[in-house]
């Protein structure tokens, strides 16, 4: 018998935590798909380690979202019992792994943002979010360094690796605008010093990107058109497939525990 989706009362704070939790879970899941398939053992372990960090961040954020909602939900229900339209992650993080270069470009775009974002969030007046930020900030710094080194190695590598890295940058660029967008509910949280204005990070994010990308002999696209929708549940076709795998056990055996 199919398991019904849970309902979530998305107050601005619940939604805020949920969006960041979904980012971390979905990106972590994508990286975990490399486990056993990465081009070398060290990289297999690195991507799995990063996935684990993201999964840990997701758990803290889901737990907090459930607490803020104050209903019957918990981290597992939020992860396993919401359908694709209820997911609130960035379109960027659900994009398929593609080749190794595409995975690393996706990781680079996200980590460059996450590093700045979590560092700024350490000053949040919400003590739980500030605590999660303090933990995540250190992890993101390692993730960013790892991805940056790969972008340089791929871009400044062979013709083949350079072409793949550039193609990935061009392909994923349109999904980066969403990181800096806010809605009305988030504006109120920013006003209350609970959230930070992501738009204020864009300049530094671009500086980080430009430095690495030019060292890699690659180029950032000049286009400004950006795709949005993930934050309100309008996803690309890829997320449904990802969720069907991520949720299959709980959907098949409801409430099953290890």
């Amino acid at each position: 018998m199919p398991v019904a989706n849970i309902q979530v009362s998305e107050t601005p704070l619940v939604l805020y935590a949920l969006r960041r939790a979904d980012d971390a879970l979905i990106l972590g899941h994508r990286l975990s798909e490399w486990c056993g398939h990465a081009p070398m053992l060290e990289e297999d372990m690195a991507l799995s380690n990063i996935a684990l960090d993201l999964l840990g961040q997701a758990r803290e954020l889901y737990t907090y979202a459930a607490k803020a909602e104050g209903k019957d939900n918990d981290e597992d229900k939020l992860a396993y019992l919401r359908d694709v339209r209820q997911y609130r992650n960035l379109l960027l993080v659900e994009q398929p792994n593609g080749g190794f270069a595409q995975t690393l470009v996706r990781q680079f775009f996200y980590s460059a943002f996450a590093d700045l974002y979590w560092r700024a969030m350490m000053a949040s007046r919400d003590t739980t979010l500030a605590a999660i930020a303090a933990k995540s900030e250190k992890e993101s710094a390692y993730h960013l360094r790892h991805a940056s080194e790969w972008i340089i190695r791929l871009g400044d590598g062979t013709d083949e690796s350079r072409a793949r890295a550039q193609a990935a940058i061009d392909h994923l660029w349109a999904f980066t605008g969403e990181m800096f967008a806010v809605d009305e509910g988030e504006c109120a949280l920013i006003h209350a010093d609970i959230a930070i204005d992501p738009g204020s990070l864009r300049g530094r994010w671009l500086t980080t990107l430009s430095g690495v990308v030019s060292e890699a002999t690659l180029e950032l696209p000049q286009t400004d058109w950006m795709q949005q929708g993930g934050r309100t549940g309008r996803h690309s076709e890829h997320l449904g497939h990802l969720l069907s795998e991520l949720q299959s056990m709980q959907r098949t055996f409801p409430g099953q525990t290890w």
């Binding site: 684990l52 840990g56 303090a134 250190k138």
Partner: protein, 167 residues
Amino acid sequence: MVTVLERDSELRKRAWDAAASVVDPEIPVLTIADLGVLRDVVLDGDDVEVAITPTYSGCPAMNMIALEIEVALERAGFRGPKVRTVLSPAWTTDWMSEEGRRKLHAYGIAPPQASNSRRALFGEQAVACPQCGSANTELLSEFGSTSCKALWRCKACREPFDYFKCH
């Protein structure tokens, strides 16, 4: 005569010692006290609550450690012990004891270097080989066999080794 205060402080010490005896399942030479994961032990009457701070957000050893703490306290005579996870302040390798660093080194893992500042994170790293002591080493991978370790190689004795990362 034993006052209530003395009895409580004796009980708390017993609870602390029991919790502090729990070792990291991944690095069994280190106790959670050595690691700085054990933050506090609170007694309320006969109820005991242990506060721990996770090393990394997703560290799978934390569930195991929480379970082991409960078992250790039950064995020490405490009924229904509770383990609470405290996120703030965030764990840092600066909390690792000198004793812990010495034990890590003897175990063959290079201990974290003194400071967890971003400079230490991103500056030039020079990690001495825990096997032969040579400073002629190189980083193989930022991410090692567990979240908290990086993989290095000694160019003098040719042995690979784990380095407990600054955090």
